[in-house]
């Protein structure tokens, strides 16, 4: 970090009491214990985690952790660069990660990234970009920023984002586009955006359970060259190692196989238990909405009528 970089601590629970001063916990991948970077030559794979202070909720840092692990496990040296707003975005990275964030932060991030220009140069060189939720939307042509204003994105994906009628929250399953070589895409979505693809972008998959792009065509995510966007939020690459390896391969070429037994067990559990249960609940809710007097959301707070004046969902 440069000396004049923002002095904000990077995501840490710290014990400031003097005799406990040695305890310093961080959740940022770049300064976690055991995560020191060996000095890397110029051949190291450069992963750039873009603005986690603005684009980072829901475990988004997990994607950097996963990519680094899967590269290092194959003997590939990795340099993980975390760039905060105000710092220059390197233009020579191999893979750029952009996470989720609320409207105001998303708008600020788009503004900063356009002004900085580093990520645009990188995209022009063919670097891989991976955006989730707000990060996906701001890679596109337009999205809805503060107060619902149509806001210019980075124009790296031929997509435009409007608002969904009601927020999409829940487990999601998408079948990959034929011939993509990806496996079923699994994970969780939590967004209010409806994203429509233009002719230059292709969907990442087709939604089997959940909402995804919410474009009325059942698509999920977008791909255009090496630029990827998705509504699978948080640690999407931890749940979808084939997608993680796709990003890595775009930078370093063919990859040796890894032992993914633990992840296979996770994916079996999601596909055989979690997702079918989600689908059953979804069918029940649709049925309830069709019944007379239906249409009310099912509260998750357990509040009574007199004590639930606070709505439990934001736009």
């Amino acid at each position: 970090m440069s000396p004049d970089a923002p002095s904000s601590p990077s995501g840490a629970l710290r014990e400031d009491v003097s005799d406990d001063a040695s305890v310093s916990l961080s959740t940022a991948p770049f300064d976690r214990p055991g995560a020191e970077q060996p000095p890397t030559g110029k051949d190291a794979l450069r992963i750039v985690h873009v603005y986690p202070h603005l684009l980072g909720t829901y475990g988004d840092a997990g994607n950097a952790i996963v990519l680094r692990y899967r590269a290092q496990a194959r003997g590939i040296a990795v340099e993980l660069v975390v760039v905060q707003p105000g710092e220059p975005v390197p233009s020579q990275g191999d893979i750029y990660l952009l996470g989720g964030g609320e409207d105001a932060k998303q708008t600020a991030a788009a503004h900063e990234l356009r002004g900085d220009g580093g990520i645009l140069t990188a995209a022009g060189r063919g670097a891989a970009l991976f955006g989730i939720c707000a990060g996906y939307q701001l890679l596109g042509e337009t999205f809805l920023g503060v107060g619902g204003a149509v806001t210019a994105g980075l124009g790296l994906l031929d997509v435009r984002t409007d608002r969904l009628e009601s927020r999409a929250v829940g487990n999601m399953l998408a079948r990959p586009v034929a011939g993509s070589g990806l496996s079923d895409l699994i994970g969780f979505e939590n967004h209010g955006g409806a994203t429509v693809l233009g002719p230059d972008a292709r969907p990442l998959g087709h939604v089997a359970i959940g909402v995804g792009n919410g474009d009325g065509r059942g698509t999920e995510g977008a791909v255009q060259g090496n630029v990827y966007g998705t509504y699978f939020h948080g640690p999407a690459l931890a749940l979808n190692p084939a997608l993680a390896d796709r990003l890595l391969a775009s930078a370093v070429g063919e990859l040796a196989p890894l032992d993914d037994a633990l992840c296979d067990a996770l994916r079996r559990h999601r596909l055989q238990e979690v997702l079918p249960a989600t689908a059953r609940v979804g069918r029940l809710q649709r049925l309830r909405r069709r019944l007379p007097g239906g249409g009310r959301g099912t509260g998750t707070s357990g509040a009574t009528a007199t004590l639930s004046e606070v709505p439990t969902s934001a736009g």
Binding site: S8, L13, T57, P235, S301, L307
Partner: protein, 403 residues
């Protein structure tokens, strides 16, 4: 004053509620506190206001530490205090607690989003606002919104807010009331990167934050020190807690501040805190097939970071993760927990989402041992003191094994 009709209606509703609670227990559906309160509120929507009338009430809220701080304040006040000790912290649970307990002082743990409604009904003297961090984002969405909701509630009527000076989202809300500032020692900055008032990046220097709009960390009235709590006037009151960890010493600082507002001198309050050893199963001793273990509850990234900080390197660790409605159904937050602290260690994984956890531990550099049975799992781990840390519903299931 309630009319005779209203009073009759309340009496009827409370009786119906007790019957529903009794039925629930007889049917083996749990303690019945929530169903009982729901029945009461369904028949008499003003029941909470009526039950709280005439009491001195403290409302305790925040993402982490609600139950423990509620327990500590109850102890600090001494004598007979009405409280919702089982953690049922929305309207129905509060109704049940107040129907059962006649004490003229009440300390009520309250869910973050139910603070406005509970404040309107109970008109508390004091609200304790502990912290606001990410938790169950599928339900509560963003901490900035909760901060705004609190600010409106704190400004609606005069109230003393015992508030965390180190948490910008709490400070922005507490300024709407009459604040008493507490610095509980810990800093969780993952959710405190931008100013809740102006949206610009916060400047953090030496554990203190400020914003370019002028919002700045207030000077604390109560400050956690190495040995105790520095209270107004500069005296340092020693703490001798049986609850582990700096996080609980911070909770004790909030308890001293809240008790002082109700007239209990800090030294008196501090001496009473030593009696607290478990809080509704938290920190309890388990017996896992003959192997003793200590049970921890952690529900979200900040809570997990605090729990991991309490676990010494010689201990063996089992982590339990569920993703039911009460836990939040999205497990993405596992990647916000600094499990990298466990790199190189063998760690047990239990709970409905043990496979999610195993992958997370793997990427953190730990070696997971996965099993659905805590007794079988305990037998597979290397020797040493055993700690079992679990999120909410996994924790509740593990309480079956309390020694």
């Amino acid at each position: 004053m309630p009319t005779p009709t209203e009073r009759a209606r309340l009496t009827l509703a409370l009786r119906a509620g007790r019957l529903a609670g009794w039925l629930s227990r007889r049917l083996g559906r749990g303690a019945g506190a929530v169903v009982r309160g729901r029945v009461v509120l369904g028949l008499a929507p003003g029941a909470l206001r009526a039950l709280a009338a005439g009491r001195r009430t403290v409302v305790v809220t925040g993402t982490n530490g609600k139950s423990t701080t509620t327990r500590l304040i109850t102890a600090a006040l001494g004598g007979d205090v009405a409280t919702n000790a089982t953690g049922a912290n929305m309207g129905p649970g509060l109704v049940t607690a107040l129907d059962d307990q006649r004490a003229t002082t009440a300390v009520l743990e309250t869910d973050e989003l139910h603070v406005p409604a509970v404040m309107r009904a109970t008109e508390p003297l004091v609200v304790v606002a502990l912290n606001l961090t990410r938790d169950q984002l599928d339900r509560t969405h963003e901490v900035s919104r909760t901060s705004r909701v609190w600010g409106e509630a704190f400004g609606a009527r005069p109230v003393t807010v015992v508030a965390n000076a180190a948490d910008p989202h709490v400070v922005a809300a507490a300024l709407a009331g009459t604040p008493v500032w507490v610095d509980p020692g810990l800093r969780w900055t993952e959710d405190a990167t931008v100013c809740p008032r102006c949206g610009k990046l916060l400047d953090w220097v030496d554990g203190r934050w400020s914003s370019s709009c002028g919002l700045t960390m207030p000077e604390p009235d109560y400050l956690l020190t190495a040995d105790g709590v520095r209270v107004p006037g500069g005296e340092e009151v020693p703490l001798d807690l049986r609850l582990p960890g700096t996080v609980n010493r911070g909770n004790a600082a909030f308890a001293l501040a809240a008790a002082a507002v109700l007239g209990v001198p800090p030294a008196t309050a501090a001496a009473r805190l030593t009696a607290v050893d478990t809080v509704d199963g938290r920190y309890a001793q388990l017996d896992l097939g003959g192997r003793p273990a200590r049970l921890f509850l952690a529900k979200n990234p900040a809570g997990w970071a605090a729990a991991l900080a309490m676990i010494d390197p010689e201990s063996q660790l089992v982590v339990g993760i569920n993703a039911r409605i009460a836990d939040g159904t999205d497990t993405s937050w596992l990647y916000d927990v600094p499990f990298e602290r466990l790199a190189g260690r063998t760690v047990g994984a239990i709970g409905d989402r043990r496979t999610d956890l195993a992958v997370r531990l793997h990427y953190a550099g730990a070696t997971p041992v996965v099993d659905d049975d805590p007794v079988r799992l305990a037998a597979q781990l290397p020797p040493g003191p055993l700690v079992v840390a679990a999120n909410y519903t996994a924790f509740r299931e593990l309480r079956r094994h309390v020694a």
